[in-house]
Amino acid sequence: MGYLIDYLNQDVRFEESLKACMNCGVCTAVCPAAEFYEYDPRRICDTVQRGDEDALEQLLKSDTIWYCGQCMSCKTRCPRGNVPGELISVLRRASQELGYFSQSEKGRQQTQLMNTLQRNILEIGYCVYPDRVDPDYHPEQGPVWRWYHQHIAEVAPRLGANYHGQGAGALRDIPQEDLDEVRRIFEVTGGMELRKRVTDE
């Protein structure tokens, strides 16, 4: 086996995401990303299955692996039980760990995602929180979201939320000791290491 295939094999998800693809293309037929981008999960499965190290390295350096929307419609339909969407996740992880992600425009977007999503998890305990959904960055959210964002302290309690409160309930502040445990999980399991690879922090 080549270096990159061996590397992918270290991910527990690799073996079950790609067993023996017969290149039928059902995954591509049902794929929302294939409708929008020049994207073909069938070809990705084929490239990985062939084990051509040069082709695989080019794939990991390309925009292609970042087009998938992770809806997993491909899993339901594959007659061989493969999961192209999960294979993509394995490839993306390798691309980030090996530094290849920085060679594509879509790959470099991981820095931004790391600085929003992962930071949100570590700082507030949730991937998304209304204070951090800026109406100016999200014009598609429309005037109702801008209104809510502006008046949340008055509106959220009416909806049963515990906005920045203590104890249980939606939108509460999570106790620091719980956030500390989540951060420690990230440190122990490789979450912080991945962050370092992608952000240079």
Partner: protein, 350 residues
């Protein structure tokens, strides 16, 4: 038509649930979450624990590839540890992405016991905690589905157009990760999921079948979260709207808070970009969460449920059903102070 969903029914625990909060639902639809807990406790008399030490499952980060699988499965293990501490064994992740994450982690642990042992070691090293896997994991929509006929006698309204006497015509949209990853985890499996259709039919409505019924809402994680990629998201949602438009649905019902938000907000965006709506009159198709629908039919106040949080306004639908509401209270704060209403869109009628 063959009723495939009758061939498969999943196990849904009767009582004593451990509730896990959704990042998206609490952000965009806190009223739906409150309604779900109220319905379980006050209408059905169930015990559901809302533990203050819970947190994200990391699902959005995991599927955006900024959280490794080992991290996600250990965060899941910590949440299971909280459940164990509280003495519960029926786990209820409230987001469809979360539901997918939990079913994925459970499946991997079942296939690979060494991986589960690794999660135990990680959790002990990081938090000095231990966990047990739940006896039962279900999505909240599964629970409402299970008790749909128990709720029906308590309902003040039905899904019937009071002007015509005919059933309301409803498009249902199931979040992809509810059953596409592990079909056996969804009521009716992936191709004919019945979790929302069962509610609609039980409560007097008619389910619309249309070609792109199973197409993704278009979220796509990084495809929406990064502004430059959002064309993917809106294009896929547009495909669904174009497919459902000829059937003239009265409203759309969802079981995933993210899907609900996209099906609502992209209607606004498409209207502003192309002066196009998918109803006849320019108001758009209202999009309800299943919790909002259940609460409305039970007679809960629409503004306490949070219907004012949607960009496509729901009053025309409320009028069709005959639901009473006070328009003056729509934009009131919790202290009763009247707030200035949101700005009006240029094209979408409100």
């Amino acid at each position: 038509m063959k009723r495939y969903w009758n061939e498969y029914q999943k196990e849904i625990a009767d009582d004593r649930y451990f509730y896990e909060r959704s990042c998206i639902r609490q952000t965009f639809f806190p009223g739906s979450e409150a309604a779900f807990l109220k319905i379980l406790r006050e209408e059905l008399g169930k015990d559901i624990c809302d533990n203050p030490h819970q947190h994200t499952c990391t699902g959005i980060g995991y599927h955006s590839d900024v959280v490794p699988f080992d991290t996600t499965m250990t965060v899941v293990a910590r949440l299971f540890s909280l459940m164990k501490e509280c003495g519960y064994s029926n786990y209820v992740p409230s987001c469809v992405t979360s539901f997918g994450v939990f079913t994925e982690v459970m499946a991997k642990w079942a296939e690979n016991p060494a991986l589960k042992e690794k999660a135990r070691q990680y959790l002990w090293e990081a938090c000095r905690r231990e966990f047990e896997v739940p006896d039962n994991i279900v999505h909240p929509s599964d629970i409402i589905y299970k008790f749909r006929f128990d709720l029906k006698p308590r309902m003040r309204y039905q899904l019937v157009n009071r002007f015509t006497g005919k059933p309301l015509r409803v498009v249902e949209h199931i979040g992809c990760h509810y059953a596409k990853i592990f079909p056996e985890q969804g009521i009716g499996k992936a191709e004919f999921p019945y979790v929302l259709a069962g509610m609609i039919e039980a409560w007097g409505g008619e389910v619309i079948d249309y070609p792109e019924r199973r197409h993704c809402c278009g979220f796509g994680f990084r495809q929406y979260l990064v502004r430059e990629n959002r064309g993917y998201s809106i294009a896929n949602t547009k495909k669904k709207f174009e497919s459902m438009e000829p059937y003239e649905p009265d409203f759309i019902l969802t079981n995933c808070p993210g899907c609900n938000m996209f099906l609502d907000k992209w209607q606004y965006t498409i209207a502003e970009m192309e002066r196009k709506t998918y109803d006849r009159d320019g108001y758009g198709i209202p999009v309800l969460t299943y919790e909002e629908l259940t609460g409305l039919l039970l007679g809960y106040d629409p503004w306490t449920l949070g219907l004012q949080m949607h960009q496509v306004q729901a009053e025309r639908l409320l009028d069709k059903i005959g639901i009473a509401y006070n328009p003056r209270e729509k934009y009131a704060g919790s202290n009763g102070r009247m707030l200035n209403p949101p700005a009006k869109p240029e094209c979408l009628l409100v």
